[in-house]
């Protein structure tokens, strides 16, 4: 299990994270949401073991993350970052095979080949296994990278740790949902999944527990029902928010209005000035996300 106790992180004098405490349970999907610069990716990178927190500690299976040997930890946790460019071209199946690198010496075992096959099917990329990675579209590259991360934690003993940093970039709506479903499947196998997400409604629908970060602090945590309230979302995202719960959806749906503007006068395109009052939905221009 993932245990995060009073974790803070600073670069020079700048405090990026302040006293974050929570635990993650294997078999569950945890979503991390918050505005830009809230420290979501930093938190994920600390969990990944990139650098040590400035204060507090993070442990996985009762052992400090920093004390794990990198080669051993690589069999336990996989990370999908927002970086999808390769400096050289490879075949798609070769990229997915990189996920198996921690598991074999110089040559892949039959088991590794099987796992690569399986994860390519899971992410729906088997069709271009033999294609060259450089020629894929952004969304396809994203799925190949996800397959690589899945391959890295497959075949071993649960629980493993899967960390996804905005995995839905460049994906159309169908794949956004299928990847979130895939994350649920991984959790169902007994692994622990943590996902940094921008789309609050996707988070609401698919995660078990939500962490809401704002300015480096943990502002709220709990189930989507507990965390997603208009008051706190409006405060943290600085945008007028309404939350509706539909019986068929079974999870909160967040509806956003206009951003809260610091100066109260905003010139409109048609020349009429409109005055906004804080705390109300910005008129009729409600967009559903």
């Amino acid at each position: 299990m993932l245990d995060i106790q009073g974790v803070g992180y600073r670069i020079g004098k700048k405090e990026i994270l302040h006293s974050i405490t929570f635990t993650g349970v294997p078999g569950s999907v945890m979503g991390i949401i918050g505005p830009n610069g809230a420290g979501k990716s930093t938190l994920l990178r600390l969990i990944a073991g990139d650098s040590a927190p400035s204060s507090g500690h993070i442990s996985w299976k009762q052992q400090n993350i920093q004390a794990w040997k990198p080669q051993i930890f690589a069999k336990e946790r996989a990370v999908l970052t927002q970086q999808t460019q390769l400096s050289q071209d490879f075949l798609v199946k070769d990229v997915v095979m990189m996920g198996r690198y921690p598991h074999f010496g110089r040559f892949p075992k039959p088991e590794d080949l099987q796992i690569v096959e399986k994860t390519m099917q899971q992410t729906d990329i088997s069709g271009f296994a033999e294609a060259s990675y450089g020629r894929l579209s952004g969304g396809e590259k994203q799925r190949v990278q996800l397959a690589r991360a899945l391959a890295q934690i497959s075949g071993g003993e649960a629980p493993c740790l899967l960390l996804l940093d905005e995995p839905l970039n460049n994906l159309d709506i169908r794949y956004q949902h299928s990847i979130m479903k895939e994350a649920r499947n991984i959790a169902a196998e007994g692994h622990m999944v943590a996902i940094v997400l921008h789309d609050i409604n996707l988070a609401s629908r698919y995660v078990d527990e939500l962490l809401l970060l704002g300015q480096g602090k943990l502002k709220a945590k709990g189930t989507p029902q507990e965390v997603l309230t208009p008051k706190i979302l409006t405060e943290i995202f600085q945008i007028h928010t309404e939350v509706i719960t539909t019986p068929e959806a079974g999870h909160p749906v967040v509806v956003f209005g206009d951003p809260i503007v610091q100066s109260h006068h905003i010139p409109k395109r048609d020349g009429n000035d409109t005055t906004l009052t804080q705390g109300s939905l910005g008129g009729t221009q409600i967009r559903t996300a």
Binding site: A74, F90, D94, R106, R135
Partner: protein, 346 residues
């Protein structure tokens, strides 16, 4: 490794002995392949009746063979170090000269030639040690460590800083060499040209043994790293997530390149182009998988340098062209052609 990559490797392995045989037979005194094979057989005790003359045997064993072997060893070293550099810097334009090995070595050679001058020949006559290669190798290793040190702190080595530091040191050393050419007299200038444009003339069995030893170490350091080089194309952080000991890999590559390139410059001067273009060519035809690319570069580098050296010593015989000119003339058009073809396909 795919079938396609295996075929390329096999082709290279088959072409290499043929090229070496042709190279051994070509020159002022032409020797037919049949005679060469009989020489080899005689040496191994398989053939009792020699079908070659004693003078032919002497030409091959004293002049041609060490030179051809040297071209194979130097070519392999240059190309595999180029591949490793490009992998480490994640940049297809990286080249061993980037970490200042070549220019650092050239500067120290130039300093030795111009300032120590007559002392060099004196030292060789006196102690039997060729001082120039020793000084050059020292310069190569020193500049490598300087740049590596500039780019490292306690968190590790920043390859971007290393690249920039390398460019700065290169410029500085280049200016130093330029300055020394003004001070040099005619005789020294000729020696300097040898160093800056490269040549395999003046090779003996001793240098072949040294170069062979260095190549062996370079291969032992780099070939087992193919998996790590592949992972590094994802980025340093991603490679770390895959359990790649990135810092250790950097140190290995620096060590291998400092040693390998230091030796080639010490014995043959600066031979450009091979380290940059051979890896590229092989990537274009076979892809970026390092399990294929590392051995293929070593073989491809050997092949190109063996052919280039044969051309360099026969084209304007009895004089010799600097080999750097030949590698550029042979390699650049081929490279451009492949690049053009790929763009047309893409």
């Amino acid at each position: 490794m795919s079938q396609h990559q295996k075929i390329i490797l096999l082709l290279l392995i088959l072409t290499l002995p043929i090229a070496a045989l042709v190279a051994c037979g070509t020159g002022a005194a032409s020797i037919a392949p049949k005679e060469l094979i009989s020489m080899l057989g005689h040496r191994l005790g398989w053939v009792s009746e020699p079908s070659f003359s004693a003078s032919q045997a002497a030409i091959v064993s004293i002049i041609r063979l060490p030179r051809v072997l040297m071209s194979l060893l130097v070519g392999a070293t240059l190309a595999i170090c180029g591949t490793a550099m490009q992998g480490l810097f994640r940049n297809p334009l990286a080249d061993p000269s980037l970490i200042g090995v070549s220019t650092g070595a050239t500067l120290s050679a130039a300093l030795a030639i111009v300032i120590l001058g007559p002392m060099l020949t004196h030292a060789e006559a006196e102690w039997g040690v060729p001082l120039l290669p020793v000084v050059t190798f020292g310069g190569a290793v020193l500049s490598t460590f300087l740049i590596f040190g500039l780019a490292s702190d306690r968190r590790g080595t920043n390859v971007a800083t290393m690249l920039l530091a390398g460019i700065a040191i290169n410029a500085l050393a280049g200016a130093g060499v330029g300055l020394l050419t003004y001070l040099a007299d005619d005789e020294q200038l000729r020696t300097l040209t040898f160093w800056t444009l490269g040549s395999l003339g003046g090779i003996n069995w001793q240098s072949v043994v040294w170069m062979g030893g260095s190549l062996f170490i370079v291969l032992a350091l780099l070939l087992p790293m193919s998996k790590y080089f592949n992972a590094l194309t994802l980025g340093e952080q991603e490679a770390h997530y895959l359990g790649v000991p990135v810092e250790q890999l950097k140190q290995r590559v620096i060590l291998a390149t400092g040693l390998g390139i230091g030796c080639t410059v010490a014995f043959c001067g600066v031979i450009g182009f091979v380290g940059l273009v051979i890896p590229h060519l092989l990537r274009l035809v076979g892809g970026g998988q390092h399990r294929y690319l590392l051995p293929a570069s070593a073989l491809g580098g050997s092949l190109i340098l063996c052919l280039s050296d044969t051309v360099s010593r026969t084209l304007v015989a009895p004089a010799e062209l600097p080999i750097g000119i030949v590698t550029a003339i042979i390699g650049a058009p081929v490279f451009l052609l492949l690049l053009f073809q790929q763009n047309k396909r893409g």
